[in-house]
Structures are given as C-alpha cells and as structure tokens.
C-alpha cells in the first residue's frame, strides 16, 4: 500500500516524498479562476518553490486544478480529462463556485458541487482565492499526500457507480469511453 503513512518500506517513503514534492498541474482554466494561476506561478508568488509545475497534457499531470464554475458542457470534458490522467492523481476545486455554486447558485447551466462528480482532494475557498490561498491549498494537498489521505483516485474507482450516476444526471447524452482502471 503506497499511501500508507506508516509503511516501513523505504521505497514507499521515497515515493511519497517525491509525489509530495513534484506536483504537475493541469490547470483546467474554466471560469474566472484561471487568471489567478499565472500570478501564482510567476515571480511574485513563485509556485515553483514547492515543486509545482504546469503540465501540458493529462497524461503527464498529477493535479487537476478546476479554476471556477463548471458548465455541464465543460464538466463532460473535465471528467474525460480526469480519467485520462494517470494515478495517483489529485483534484483541487478552486473558488466558491466549485464548492456550492458561488454566484452561479441559480444558474441553469453550472454544477453546484464538484465533489459529486469528481473526487476532490482539496477545496480552496474564495471568490476568487488570492495566490496566497492557492499556495496554501497546494501545501494542504502536500500534507494530505504525506499523510496518505489524498486518495481521491482510489475513492473514484471504488465508488465509480455513484459518481457515474451523478454525472449522468447532469450530462444527458452520455457518450463516453469506459473507465476501467
């Protein structure tokens, strides 16, 4: 069990440490939150200090960063992207919109709670969260990883039916490849 914090195996300790210190972000720039990512990564706040780095494709990424409200149309793409990522993988919900819909609480077109559809490891509150809170969110994620609690991918796989049910409720025309691992 790689996530076990108390694992005695030196391999696991090293692996967890490496995972913790190398988080490659796939910033899914939905909504207004995408604009907070550049300041987080550039010279003012310098997210690279914590081993954060942008990844170009889901195959390479570790963290899926959902930056803001998700329209149902976008949700479909996000689910697809998430399923293309390779585990261990983490999801960070960014901004109030991902938590309870935020200012889009009554919108006909956006989902209100991201964790019904994807296993969110960390939520970052705020509308919008400032780069400081983004970084603190990532530090929280690192902490969870080192404690072995950031096991969203496993949760997703285990409760796939529940997630699928929720997903199909909002995405009416469900034509997606199977997720079988």
């Amino acid at each position: 069990m790689t996530y076990d914090k108390n694992s005695k195996k030196i391999v696991d300790i090293i692996q967890n440490f490496a995972r913790k210190h190398s988080l490659w972000i796939l910033a899914y720039g939905t909504g207004c939150g995408a604009i907070e990512v550049p300041p987080t990564m550039t010279s003012r706040y310098d997210g690279e200090r914590f081993g954060l780095r942008g990844a170009a494709t889901p195959r390479q990424a570790d963290v899926l960063l959902i930056t803001g409200y998700l329209a149902t149309k976008t949700l479909k793409r996000v689910i697809r992207t998430y399923e293309q990522m390779q585990s261990p993988k983490y999801v960070i919900g960014f901004g109030s919109c991902t938590i309870n819909g935020g200012m889009y609480w009554d919108s006909y077109n956006t989902i209100k709670a991201l964790d019904r559809y994807l296993p969110v490891d960390v939520y970052i509150n705020g509308c919008m969260p400032r780069p400081e809170s983004v970084i603190s969110g990532f530090i929280k994620l690192q902490q969870l990883i080192s404690e072995g609690k950031a096991n969203g991918a496993e949760k997703y796989q285990k409760n796939l039916e529940w997630y699928r049910e929720n997903q199909k409720k909002v995405i009416h025309n469900w034509k997606m490849p199977d997720y079988n691992w």
């Binding site: 692996q15 210190h21 010279s43 690279e48 200090r49 170009a56 195959r59 390479q60 570790d62």
Partner: protein, 304 residues
C-alpha cells in the same frame, strides 16, 4: 577470455554519473531561469523528485508496442552515445568503449534516439505529437548541416575522425581546438543551440501550442525514462563538445566546470529569447552557422 573489469565497472557507473550530473544540471538550470525571472526557483534536487515521481506513477497508458519501446530507443541512443565518448582524458575507468574512428558513428547514433522516439510518438496517434515530430525532424536537417561542416573542418584539419586523436592533439591549453579553429567552434556552438532544444529553438515541444508535442501521450514511467534519457543525453552532448573543442577533462572537477560553462550558452540564450518558427529556425541554421562552417573548411583547405 580475459575481461577488463575496470572497463565493465566504467560501463556500469558512467550512465549513473551522467544521470546524476544531467539531472542536477536540469535543477540548476531551473534555478537560474527562476533567478533571471526574479523568482526564487525550485530546490536544486527538484528534477530528481520529478523523475522519481514519474517512475512511481501507478498507472500508465500505452498505445502499442512501438509506443512502449519509444523511450527505450531514446535511452539506448543516449547511453550508447555516452559509451562511445571518452568522459575523462586518459582515464582507464571512463574510457568506455570509445575506440578510434567514431565521430561519424556518433553523428549517426545520436539520431537513433530521435528516430526511435519519433516512431513511438507516431503510434500514439496524437496529431499534436505528429506535428512535433514533423517540426523536430525538419529542425534536425537544419542544425545537422553546420554541425557536420564544423566536424568536417576539424577532421580534415587534424587528419582524424577519432575523438581520442582529437584529445591527444589538445595536450595543452593553447592547443585546444576552440583556439585552433575558432570559426568551426562558432558554427558548432550555433548548431549546439538547436541540438539542446532550448529557446529560440524549442518549437518542437512548444507546450502552449501543441501540448508539449512529441511526449504529449507519454506519462508515468515512459515520461520518466524519457527524462532520464534526456538528462543523460544532455550530459553526453556536453562531454562530446568538451572533448572536441575544450580539450576534454582530466578529472571530474574540470569536467564539471567546462560542461557547465558550455551548458550555460544554450540555457542563457534560451532564457532571454522568444521562439522561432520552424522555418525561421531552419533558415537561421542554413544562414550564418553554415557560412561559418564553410569558412572553417575553406580556412583549413587554404592553410593546406
């Protein structure tokens, strides 16, 4: 049959040293880039964590056996290139397999990896990856020309195609080939910029345009092996250039200093430059570097 155990040991530890140095250079480069951009930058060991993390990914997607083998091709080319370069001058341990007569062989083995990678990338079926390969191969035609011109100039100047002989020529500081044929060095170092793939010649992996291009379908252990290979290859190319132009190195301290200084040329160029389009890059290589290369050859021919 007597086995040269020293050689075997060298063969085993050379890639390991190359890996460590190459990855550490990668970390230092990220730091330097950060400083230039007025940032603090990641820790120097960051690239090690990245590679370990990639290897410890639990799932990987493969598109077929050519895709599976692509990083293997890459690392074969890197390690083999390294094997045929004398890492340290007059060292029994690090002489590796570098028999004489191997510059042309090196030119060919260096593209082995690119071609293998390109094949694997092709199987992934990602159009972005194919675009990246198309750009990469076109660029290669660009920078190989000045590089070969420079090498030919050196080969005919010293009447050898062997790295060992070239090392023997550069027995003292003033005899370094960088001083003996500076124009060839200019041509080669301009080609070197293209070879290393830093800006302005990074159109191949342009992440914002074509989603990192060739490696876009590679993740986990495949990407890890590719990064490993890239680190080793970087080190191999640096050592090759040091051996050809800077008189090689007698000990590791000198080697580190020389390769690091050499490495800074593409890195610092890259930090302050935007990106060339493919055809601009090719035309650049066919213009000034090629002119320098031709001048280098003409100079040698004139001298007799």
């Amino acid at each position: 049959m007597d086995i040269n155990w020293l050689k075997v040991l060298g063969i085993i530890i050379t890639p390991i040293i190359a890996f460590i140095v190459g990855v550490a250079y990668g970390g230092i480069v990220r730091n330097i880039t950060a400083r230039v951009q007025n940032r603090f930058g990641p820790p120097v060991v960051q690239n090690f964590w990245d590679i370990i993390k990639l290897y410890s990914k639990k799932t990987t997607v493969s598109h077929g056996w050519m895709h599976h083998l692509a990083p293997v091709f890459a690392i074969t080319a890197s390690v083999t290139t390294l094997y045929f370069i004398p890492v340290l001058r007059d060292s029994k341990l690090f002489a590796n397999l570098s028999f004489s007569g191997d510059l042309i062989f090196l030119l060919y083995i260096m593209v082995f990896g690119s071609l293998g990678m390109a094949l694997g990338v092709g199987q992934s079926g990602n159009p972005n990856a194919a675009i990246g390969v198309s750009r990469g191969l076109s660029m290669m035609v660009g920078y190989e020309i000045p590089f070969v011109l420079a090498l030919v100039a050196i080969m005919i100047q010293f009447h050898t195609t062997s790295l060992n002989d070239l090392l023997a020529v550069q027995d003292k500081f003033t005899n370094w080939i960088i001083f003996q044929s500076p124009i060839a060095f200019i041509a080669a170092i301009l080609a070197f910029l293209g070879m290393m793939g830093y800006a302005p010649f990074d159109v191949v992996i342009a992440p914002a345009e074509i989603a990192s291009g060739p490696p876009s379908e590679f993740g986990g252990k495949y990407l890890g092996l590719m990064q490993t290979s890239r680190s080793i290859f970087t080190f191999a190319k640096l050592v090759l250039f040091t051996d050809i132009f800077l008189g090689g190195a007698g000990d590791f301290g000198t080697l580190i200093v020389k390769t690091f200084l050499l490495y800074m040329i593409p890195v610092l160029t890259g930090i302050v430059n935007p990106r060339f389009r493919t055809e601009q890059a090719i035309r650049f290589f066919w213009k000034w570097p090629t002119v320098f290369g031709v001048i280098a050859i003409l100079a040698v021919v004139m001298k007799g």
